[in-house]
Symmetry: C3
């Protein structure tokens, strides 16, 4: 989507971020049907390694067409991780300037983000924002510096890859990722960027998705990664704020603007101390609630 | 309460810390009835913002009278947060020298604690200790430096404000605050100060309070914030140590003193390595168990 | 066991680490019967403090005999903690060169590990590795630096001592140690050393052990501390990898070796970024699955 605000590349809302394999243009073409807030043409986990290099021009072509035809959606390509053999040419060959951002998986530290931003800039794609994947032990350890790095506008927590990196095993109960999932969303709050919660791989289980989405929202997440179109509406149901929440956020933003006009930075708003990230959170919530 | 020990301003025990709205002197006057360990005349969340400034002299007058008449209770006023418009005059106009300490909400870092201590000192109130509120993402991130800052004698974890700061939602199950609640109590242990656990807002639900208090005690918390007199006895039931626990703590303190007299700092006491914070913990437990 | 690989002192597998009181040679002599991966002659918590000094020669004699007769087991002595009155002479008088390593409880920081390594070296025992006990608040806070310290080849999380250090209480549900237990295993992953999970004290409850072992494996732990021979087989059942897991680990190690031969350090292997600790994890898993 075109950004429509003066913060440049911040995504408006990402209650749902729907992935499709980038090497399958016919599947990517269907991404808009479920009206996700964000959509990702994936060049990483959803594409067999042997097909990734050759999929780049296909991804670029699909991205250009979809982003032009569906400006109501925030469009991404997910490249391969920075240390991988694919990364450099993913940036130069798979990204179209019509995209809104690039999803970068398995970020371990802020240096890797700087490498992404440099590569984007060198490719004339400096207007794309980075949606940062926190899904390794190092990534969780360094989540705040990653999410605070210039160019990062949002992040996601990836449970499957995190637990693979730990040498553990995923369960439906999520106990084994509770610590990392909590640390990641708190890092997002400290960095002032919205965080998107892990995939539910059992995509036929609507109840599990709804329960996990509610859990994520309680923790402070703003949306869910989706791997099936049927998950999009469930995510919207879970993450759309109520009209009361939107009204409060509007009052908060107005109070902050009034205080700023008087030269005050921090205010106590209805019992909550308001700083920059809280204002960003409120603006995000207003956009989440905006039916446009 | 008068301190009665040589550590100056350390609160003896805070199994319960009962809050009342500072602008309602008739409610504050009833604080002693349920015999809480600590009592707080609140100038922050319990008082509508428009009434906070005018409530200061009322709070000061109530505090002076109550602290004089009930030395068996540790008396506090909760001021507004350091960056708020109210903080400076809360310190100079709402605090009476007869108080034991000041509760400071939403502390984000040690610099804010230093500002509190400076303000107290400038107001001739340097003998008051700080009970530090850890209830923001920054506060949790910086909990150890906040709780180790000079002047801080205890802390609390505030779940409601923390989750508001995260943009999340509170649930009865507490999963969404488990990470922060655990990080806060561990920071208290590292800093050597007792930590008080979150409010149970559903004050008619005794079972929920008892269960949450047991959970808190298991984690290492020493007491509960109370918002209703009926919660005080429940907190005492949960946090009063057994006579065996008190006897062991007395042996530990004696063994440490004997070792110190021989020039040894750390000892292995009945299988537990004993350092300064563990001695402080044992002394606190002895005081908790002391029926005086 | 003799190490049989070029990494020097790394333990091959520790699905089970069975403890016996070092002052009871007749109990220690039975350690091999349940065929644990690792066995520990304990000089710490399992021995009454008054008997620890006199138990040292007994421990050394038992260790020498058992390590010689049972090279299929990794042999340890657990000494007392570094600041304790026993530590220095535990190293010089209770350790036999035939041991594989030394278990050091309640490590608080990397300086203490350096003191252990220095003491081992001075005693001509520099070939023994350190199995580091993370079981204090400071230990959890500093877990990564402890586990990364030279000489450390593995670690364990000790729930009982951790919660005693916190002044809390243990429960069967483990909620009170979830944060620390999660932080410790993540620190192990970052340091590239295998971590062993807490004791189940209720040693007659096989179901509880099996459930907790599964939970630990999900989190990324590689084995369990055992206090009864009956727990050893349960641990092996829980932590032995499947043949599919072993096969994948072999492919990963081979792919990494091939990439290294071409001068590449990091590779993307079947969707997982592979760095040094991941290779170590895979090698460990291969050894876990090896029926030898």
């Amino acid at each position: 989507m075109s950004q429509g605000d003066d913060t440049g590349t911040r995504p408006a809302r990402l209650r749902s971020l729907l992935f499709a394999p980038g090497n399958r243009p016919e599947v990517c073409a269907k991404l808009p049907r479920s009206t996700p807030d964000g959509a990702v043409l994936d060049l990483e986990d959803a594409v067999p390694p042997k097909l990734r290099a050759e999929a780049r021009p296909t991804v670029r072509e699909s991205a250009a067409k979809l982003a032009r035809e569906h400006p109501e959606i925030t469009w991404y390509v997910r490249v391969n991780s920075v240390p991988s053999e694919w990364f450099a040419r993913d940036i130069t060959e798979a990204l179209d300037p019509a995209l809104d951002g690039v999803v970068v998986p398995k970020l371990d530290n802020a240096e890797q983000v700087a490498a992404v931003v440099d590569a984007l800039s060198a490719a004339g794609l400096g207007h794309l924002h980075v949606l940062a994947g926190i899904e390794t032990a190092h990534g969780v350890e360094n989540a705040r510096e990653i999410l605070e790095a210039p160019g990062v506008a949002a992040g996601y927590f990836g449970a499957e890859d995190f637990i693979a990196d730990m040498g553990g095993r995923r369960t439906a109960g999520n106990a084994e990722v509770h610590f990392a999932r909590s640390a990641a969303v708190m890092a997002g709050r400290l960095a002032g960027v919205p965080m998107i919660d892990q995939v539910v791989t059992d995509f036929r289980n609507d109840d599990a998705f709804a329960a996990e989405a509610a859990e994520a929202r309680n923790m402070g997440y703003r949306g869910k990664l989706c791997i099936h179109p049927s998950q999009v509406q469930l995510a919207h149901d879970a993450f759309t704020p109520t009209s009361d929440e939107v009204a409060r956020a509007r009052r908060l933003v107005a109070a902050h603007a009034a205080a700023a006009a008087e030269g005050r930075a921090d205010i106590d708003f209805e019992g909550q101390m308001v700083d920059g990230p809280i204002v960003a959170q409120a603006q995000h919530l207003i956009e989440l609630g905006d039916p446009t």
